[in-house]
Symmetry: C2
Subunit: 516 residues, 2 copies
Amino acid sequence: MSSSLVPPPAPAARAAPAPPSAVRPRHDREQADRIALSAATRRGARLPTEDVRGWLAERRRAHVFHVERVPFAELDEWRFESDTGNLVHRSGRFFTVEGMQVVERDRPHGDGPHREWQQPVIRQPEVGILGILAKELDGVLHFLMQAKMEPGTPNLLQLSPTVQATRSNYTRAHRGTDVKLIDCFFRPDRERVIVDVLQSEQGSWFFHKSNRNMIVETLDEVPELDDFCWLTLGQIAELLHADDLINMNARTVLSCLPYRDAAPGALLSDLQFLSWFTGERSRHDMRAQCIPLASVRGWRRGVATIEHEEGRYFKVVAVSVRAGNREVVRWTQPLIEPVGLGVAAFLVREVGGVPHVLVQARAEGGCLDTVELAPTVQCTPGNYAHMPAADRPPFLDAVLGAPSSRIRYEAVHSEEGGRFLNARSRYLVVDVDRDEDADRDVDADRGADPDPRGALDIAAALDPPPGYTWVTPAQLTALTRHGHYLNVEARTLLACLNAVATRTRAPRGPRERDAA
Amino acid sequence: MSSSLVPPPAPAARAAPAPPSAVRPRHDREQADRIALSAATRRGARLPTEDVRGWLAERRRAHVFHVERVPFAELDEWRFESDTGNLVHRSGRFFTVEGMQVVERDRPHGDGPHREWQQPVIRQPEVGILGILAKELDGVLHFLMQAKMEPGTPNLLQLSPTVQATRSNYTRAHRGTDVKLIDCFFRPDRERVIVDVLQSEQGSWFFHKSNRNMIVETLDEVPELDDFCWLTLGQIAELLHADDLINMNARTVLSCLPYRDAAPGALLSDLQFLSWFTGERSRHDMRAQCIPLASVRGWRRGVATIEHEEGRYFKVVAVSVRAGNREVVRWTQPLIEPVGLGVAAFLVREVGGVPHVLVQARAEGGCLDTVELAPTVQCTPGNYAHMPAADRPPFLDAVLGAPSSRIRYEAVHSEEGGRFLNARSRYLVVDVDRDEDADRDVDADRGADPDPRGALDIAAALDPPPGYTWVTPAQLTALTRHGHYLNVEARTLLACLNAVATRTRAPRGPRERDAA
């Protein structure tokens, strides 16, 4: 199709840049239609969805991937700095493992008792690019996904963005095809940008890390490459229901897609939602700074791990990697390995027929600006096992005890495999809906079917505890245009919510029909 | 009016909160109409505009205001810490003067030659509240402005927001009326919030400082207080044309008002503008950290000043203040005193009949996230006097040499008088418009009247140098909903642009009629 000498009409219409002395509308209404069409297209122009797993397995076989834990002494280019004990690369590039001290005055406006802790943290000031190339195939937007090896993911190979490049990569990379693909993002065509925003990454493990999340369309021919495949959003939505298949970088980029808001509104106006968020950011007083890794209290450095004295949270470890197909490269690097499976969950309910999720304003030591919007529940339950029930995170029991009938989405996803080893979380969307009239206290009169699980009933209250509020997925989507609002776990869940909406749209079940 | 037993219709219509199980529209279209009405109302329900100066003079006479420079040794509650040399308050509250080290790798993606400097900086991690109370009087929104004394402003007393409160103030203040006014902002009524956003302050003088900018409407009776007056936006626009009258805090809060965008579009879509900004934020690699004040190179500490070795930039000084009316209080504090008058200017031009301003993505050491949007020109020209012309800031000569016929706005405003002494800048809006067809290179054919000033002609190019782009005031207004986009100087100029638009709207001149 794209080899035709006559340019296809739809892309050509979009191609016309504004004449130099004219203005264009501030918002491109058409883009949302193209995204909706791609989401509704479950049969892509290239690889069928059911063949993706086989294709990934084949790509896995085509490459050498070998990852082995090694003691720190066997790290080639990495060493512990003598004065600070920081773990650094000889070049001064890539990243460092340093210490972080966090002081949090938890009560409103910082006048409460304060909490203080120290921990290792990854510092990587460079902004990398996570870029997905988009292209219309048969009139439908497809996205170029890469079968990408990362040493820290349990299955080593997952679907990633077209390009994942640190600054060191893209200022130095001169390796054939890759360079051309990187150029689409490094110097994006202004007329073809769909997503372009700096987004934060894990505030518990990174200090002030952010990456540039991009989706850029191309009208050019893109060469067929072994490790790449074109998929529609409908296909990706299907694949997002599988464990360990779509990597973190792909999930965060996809979460920023400007889906249209078809709902008539929300519980809070956007202004009210942002005002709530401003209040949350103002009331938290959290100060974090990097300190020498050697001075971090409560952690001990062994031959092959740096770990917490009670074995909680995570370890810093080292691995040796052999990878490649034609040319096999070998390198060593540190990774952060969490001690248990994490949980990240949105509670969802309808308000006036519109789905809402319960978000949390969550302070993390590595956040650039105190708090970001997080899932209702985000934690590693194992870290709380030693605590009394009252000190466990709010809503955790409601999520862990939810009956399967209430679970709208569940999958285990891996976090970034270039920095984290076996960092996996169960991502859940749990429905707490009950008869909405319960909010008007007329349950008894109507004989509404009471929910057997009290925890979910309590969680469904429209007036949640401080630090939580109900918002629509569309309101979260609107905020992904800007950085430092949704944290990376919330962005993964937003991508999952979109995948659920895509999957359930047709055919609609009786539940959806009733709600509409 | 508000003493009537029957509630007035307009506020009542707005007063109804959403029923618990219903949704409301995400955007309140009505608010912009109320703001436009206030902007169009030049005759307020209370103090006439022409009486404001007299009222300020009267308030000045009613108070004792005495500010005197003192040596550091005469600071009461402040001292230089022995180990760091930082200037700190005994309580650990308020703010500190510390050192800052900045390393900037200026070229795209940090691979260029780098620049490094050290300087004193104010560190104030607490988030304060800058709040303006709004109320309908005779059906028009009025804003409660305070005649507020600040030791650092040249005339000591300017119009400020209703409330300027640091966290220390508002967690401890129990002084009658003030508390009630603070409560409107500390626990704002969700149904009455008009503006609520964290905004940054001077990145050259503050390290990561931000304040909560708020406008909240009230339906309650507000007691008449000596130092407060109700003004419409039309009145404030008129007053914004005077020197040293509307203080910085009032300007930044007013800049966040959600004016309606009446223009058909913009040169760049919002997505393209944000993508450009993301690119600018990504390409700058600037790392700033606080260091001990005693270790700052290139600055020397004397008996009464800390100053730059070549006398450039600013000094740290100390003052003794006596102020009050019934009860006179006395305190001492450090202030930062810039060495010269600053210049902050927007170049403006029309594109397709829509006014655009040339913004700069400007990196400042104290920015939380590398760059923010700044005026086309923002500098203290004196700091560049020793440099060759080629090293002076872009567009500075175009602004300084602009003929008066091109100047659409000019006033000298003071920066925050609680931290800065005689920190004043000339704020300018300079029109670079010429025949738009010049962009199509057909000037010669049409015999267009060429602009005599080459600098302005060059500045008018639609394809400005890297780091600059043309956007509409409405696009900037949209971004004031979020923090860390517009810097405080750009926000002052945005408030000034709105004031110019308000003043020129009726009667319209021949120029405006042609453009419409």
